[in-house]
């Protein structure tokens, strides 16, 4: 897929994906980037990811605290707040509805004569 379109699509859902990952367990930026990569969304650069995390923190959907790693530097860990948990539930329902409509439309397009 061309990179520009991938970037456009990702911009719309990156915060939702990050919230979904944090719903599993608390995590820090680089670990989230790796998880997104493993999930097949491709490499998300720090310059894209951290502003999203900061916005989620500002709007109160995630909380953050610093913790020393076993080895290496302290890391900023993010976890969902109660309103973040509520947002994940609402957004994933909304996303499935939206993506379903796009799917249905594309199906119709390719299967119609």
């Amino acid at each position: 897929m061309d990179q520009e379109r991938r970037g456009q699509w990702l911009r719309g859902v990156l915060d939702v994906c990050v919230l979904a990952l944090l719903a599993r367990r608390e995590s820090y930026g680089y670990e989230l980037a790796q998880a997104l990569d493993r999930a097949g969304l491709g490499q998300i650069q720090g310059g894209t990811l951290y502003p999203v995390l900061l916005r989620l923190q500002r709007t109160g959907l995630v909380a953050a605290h610093w913790r020393e790693g076993e080895a290496g530097p302290a890391r900023k860990y993010y976890r969902l707040t109660p309103s973040g948990e509520e947002a994940v539930r609402r957004l994933s329902t909304e996303w499935r509805a939206f993506a379903g409509r796009v799917d249905a439309l594309l199906m119709e397009e390719v299967t119609s004569p």
């Binding site: 930026g29 650069q45 720090g46 502003p51 900061l54 500002r58 530097p73």
Partner: protein, 275 residues
């Protein structure tokens, strides 16, 4: 390898965006941890410090501009100002009213009378007709000139400070502090004539703002500034505004215009004030 210089530049850029020192430290520390974990070069992971700092600042800013104090009393009122040089009409009847806590920008093509209008507002030039009323102490920063070749920067501070009722020590201290916020440290023993053009403009700007005048008239004061100092300059403008000063800036750079309170376009035929 961690790119210390990139991280340091990021810290400076974040300060320019007025993040608190604590917040800036966290953002830098988080970027440093990411670079260590990923082993990526900073430019690849985050882009330039300028762009990343801007993205961070944007995600921290609320979508709505913070409520500003309503503008205060009228500090500058110029009414029906006209000026001719010989047969050439430089200014057709021009009005401008600026209240405390407002920024007005004067724009227009070269030679349309921007500097003339500002000099009339400053009382340095008489209009052919019309009236200027200033309420309070006025500071004026010219486009060029305005400094004394054989005086040291500190002697400039003392001179201007004396006119505004400040003693020598206080003038020097305030001048040095203001200079520092423009990334300038006046070295001892360098006369104004030996300063670079950009540094002379910093000197002009510091003089204009010394002692917190109520009205600031700034005539393209950032010529010769590098990009960082240019941003610092606008940060000063917003701070002065928030402190309740009335500010008029002559500018040909339009990218700040969406943030000012009014724009006076002196280009012939386009005379209107946009809010």
């Amino acid at each position: 390898m961690i790119d210390e210089r990139w991280l340091q530049a990021l810290g400076q850029e974040l300060a320019r965006h007025r993040l608190t020192p604590e917040m800036a430290r966290h953002v830098v520390a988080e970027a440093a941890a990411h670079l260590r974990d990923s082993g990526q070069p900073a430019l690849r992971a985050f882009g330039t410090p300028q762009r990343y700092a801007a993205a961070v600042a944007e995600s921290l800013a609320s979508r709505h501009h913070p409520a500003r104090r309503p503008p205060g009393r009228v500090r500058l009122r110029a009414s029906q100002i006209t000026k001719r040089y010989g047969r050439r009409t430089v200014l057709r009847p021009t009005d401008l009213t600026v209240r405390a806590g407002e920024v007005a920008a004067i724009v227009g093509a070269n030679g349309c009378g921007k500097s003339t209008f500002l000099r009339i507002c400053a009382g340095l030039l008489s209009p052919d007709s019309g009236e200027v009323v200033v309420d309070g102490v006025l500071g004026y920063c010219p486009q060029d000139g305005g400094t004394y070749d054989f005086l040291l920067p500190e002697e400039h501070f003392v001179l201007v400070g004396a006119g505004r009722g400040l003693d020598r020590a206080r003038s020097r201290r305030l001048g040095r502090a203001d200079a520092a916020t423009l990334q300038w440290e006046p070295a001892g023993g360098v006369q104004a004539r030996h300063l670079s053009g950009g540094t002379r403009q910093k000197l002009n700007l510091v003089m204009a703002a010394l002692g917190d005048p109520d009205v600031l008239l700034l005539d393209e004061p950032y010529q010769g500034f590098d990009r960082g100092t240019y941003i610092d300059f606008w940060q000063h403008v917003w701070r002065w505004r928030d402190e309740g000063r009335a500010i008029v800036v002559v500018t040909h750079l339009l990218n700040q215009l969406d943030q000012v309170d009014q724009v006076l376009d002196l280009t012939p035929g386009s005379r209107e004030v946009a809010a």
